[in-house]
């Protein structure tokens, strides 16, 4: 760390989100608790891209939502450094205290079809955050909307049209414009390219990379597709059952995965190279991994 290093932009410590699920045993039976996120910690440096990967139910989206305070975490701290250098804990702030901070932290959603209001023009969609936060109006609002549309590869004239007139890739650009019009520091991308065709996905990833340099953005990139993360992220955190099982620089995760779960997960990805065979036996390997972990836990219980 150099003396001028201001430290991480985001520092997550012991984050947990538990949901209580009604038991099937009737009204009087005790509810069971699902630990969707269970003791997650990581740092995010300014300008960095961290991939949060895992399968459905691994807790990656719940963790991202807790960080954005779309959900209230059960435990843990989410330290966010403001532009003036102050650090706030997003996990405990009141809704009112959160509002001004929301302009610094924005989100890009997965589904470009359901995340845009079909009754609003593109201009109204993209400009809405500025209106809500009272940051611009009138011709200044129009100018900022036109400017950001241009930056994401759309035309200022597109502001007058409605979302249905746009393709999936263009809609995702609209979603990105809406997030970036606030000039945020941190952008959480939740499966931002998962619904897109591969050629469109490549264009959107290139755009996100370009905008990152231009606006000095920090990305938390939530994805289930390991291939997408491979070349886009600086570091990757692999999640399973609410926990991070491995966190390492992206090249290391893919070239020399340390955790057996990461190895199994990677081996299940079908390679487009016919000479790199995929692993069809993942079910057996995951079962062995869990059996070994259970044996270790049982032995530890006996020790104590």
């Amino acid at each position: 760390m150099t003396p001028t290093d201001p430290g991480p932009l985001l520092s997550v410590r012991g984050l947990a989100k538990h949901f209580s699920v009604p038991s099937r045993g009737g009204r009087l039976a005790p509810a069971s608790v699902v630990k969707a996120v269970d003791d997650v910690s990581f740092d995010l440096a300014p300008g960095e891209t961290l991939g949060l990967v895992g399968e459905s139910g691994s807790g990656k989206t719940t963790a991202a939502r807790c960080i954005l305070r779309a959900l209230v975490p059960t435990a843990g701290e989410v330290h966010y450094r403001l532009p003036d250098g102050r650090t706030v804990d997003l996990a405990v702030l009141s809704d009112r205290a959160l509002k001004p901070i929301r302009q610094h932290v924005q989100m890009v959603f997965q589904d470009p079809f359901s995340s845009l209001n079909p009754r609003m023009t593109v201009g109204a969609i993209v400009g809405e955050p500025l209106v809500i936060h009272g940051l611009a109006r009138g011709s200044e609002l129009d100018d900022r909307v036109a400017e950001i549309l241009r930056r994401v590869g759309l035309q200022p004239e597109h502001a007058r049209r409605y979302p249905h007139a746009f393709s999936g890739g263009q809609r995702q650009r609209i979603g990105i414009a809406r997030a970036l019009v606030m000039r945020p520091a941190l952008v959480v991308c939740d499966e931002a390219t998962s619904a897109l065709d591969v050629s469109v996905q490549a264009q959107v990833l290139d755009l996100l990379k370009e905008l990152q340099g231009e606006f000095r953005l920090t990305y938390l990139f939530v994805a289930h597709n390991l291939d997408v993360v491979r070349n886009f992220c600086d570091r990757v955190a692999v999640m399973r059952r609410g926990r991070i099982v491995e966190l390492a620089p992206a090249p290391q995760i893919f070239a020399a995965p340390q955790h057996p779960y990461t190895r199994i997960l990677l081996s299940a990805v079908p390679s487009p190279d016919p000479d790199v065979p995929m692993n069809f036996q993942v079910a057996e390997e995951l079962a062995r991994l869990d059996a070994a972990a259970a044996a270790v836990a049982a032995a530890a219980a006996v020790e104590s």
Partner: protein, 278 residues
């Protein structure tokens, strides 16, 4: 009935399927030709709107108005029923009903929409047996339970009476596969069978389809957008773009030495092949 053993199972010649909309006529399938040998796996790969699913739906005559097949032939050289041109069958012919689910079956991307929510999964599989094979209800139930075990569901007797909402996505897709293969079809059409699934579940489902394909000896037409899936499970591949096949050949040849510019562009767009973005 002419012997069909020396012929490929399926020959599609200059197939054309169009959709007439307010904005004009869309040639979803625009002169597609290919053949598929018995027991082989052909992947139709392309992006959304390329016509790969419209081709698959045309084969089973599932295209609904405003769409219709406007030209070409779909020759099924069935070992059981001889040569049938599927484009010539009327919508309600007995032969078409025998083809669907009997000689050709299909599995869909989203297992929840392909299963009835109000019938037990076992009864839905047994229904296919009762429709296509001579069996009593008791025999159909037994064959269904056997098939549920073959697709890897534990406690198949109990599973028979469960409803789709009680099963996970991966288990539902196993039920769909059981339903598709229980009548031992000659051709299985799999339309994005693993796209909605996690990667570890996808590996299990692809492995299962492969194992059962070998057991039954059926050919597979795999509709997918994923070149990884193509490389790992198909023998041959046809790349579709704007309703046409732009390149076709053995998987290794097409993926390692693509000839067509569109194939090259698609392969270059794959995240794993792209250089690290600085």
């Amino acid at each position: 009935m002419e012997p069909t053993a020396d012929l490929p199972l399926l020959e599609v010649e200059d197939l054309r399927t169009t959709f007439t909309t307010d904005d004009g006529v869309v040639n979803a399938v625009d002169g597609v030709s290919f053949s598929l040998a018995r027991g082989r796996t052909l992947a139709l790969v392309g992006e959304s709107g390329s016509g790969k699913s419209a081709t698959a739906y045309s084969l089973l005559r599932l295209i609904q108005p405003p769409g219709r097949i406007t030209g070409g032939r779909i020759l099924l050289h069935s070992a059981r029923a001889g040569t049938i041109d599927l484009t010539q069958l009327s919508d309600h012919s007995d032969l078409l009903y025998k083809v669907r689910g009997g000689m050709i079956s299909m599995i869909f991307q989203e297992p929840m929409t392909a299963l009835s929510p109000v019938h037990s999964v076992g009864s839905q599989i047994a229904e296919a047996i009762l429709l296509h094979q001579h069996a009593t209800r008791a025999e159909a139930r037994q064959r269904t339970v056997d098939m549920l075990a073959r697709v890897g569901l534990s406690q198949p007797e109990q599973r028979y009476d469960q409803y789709p909402h009680e099963l996970s996505g991966g288990m539902r897709q196993r039920v769909i596969i059981a339903m598709a293969l229980v009548c031992r079809p000659e051709l299985l059409i799999a339309d994005e069978p693993t796209t909605a699934l996690d990667v570890t579940i996808q590996a299990q489902i692809l492995g299962l389809i492969r194992t059962l394909q070998r057991e039954i000896g059926c050919a597979v037409l795999l509709i997918t957008h994923d070149f990884g899936v193509v490389a790992q499970v198909a023998d041959d591949v046809a790349v579709m773009h704007h309703g046409r096949i732009v390149e076709r050949g053995p998987v290794r040849t097409v993926l390692k030495a693509p000839q067509h510019a569109y194939t090259r562009a698609l392969l270059d767009a794959l995240p794993s092949r792209r250089a690290r973005v600085a």
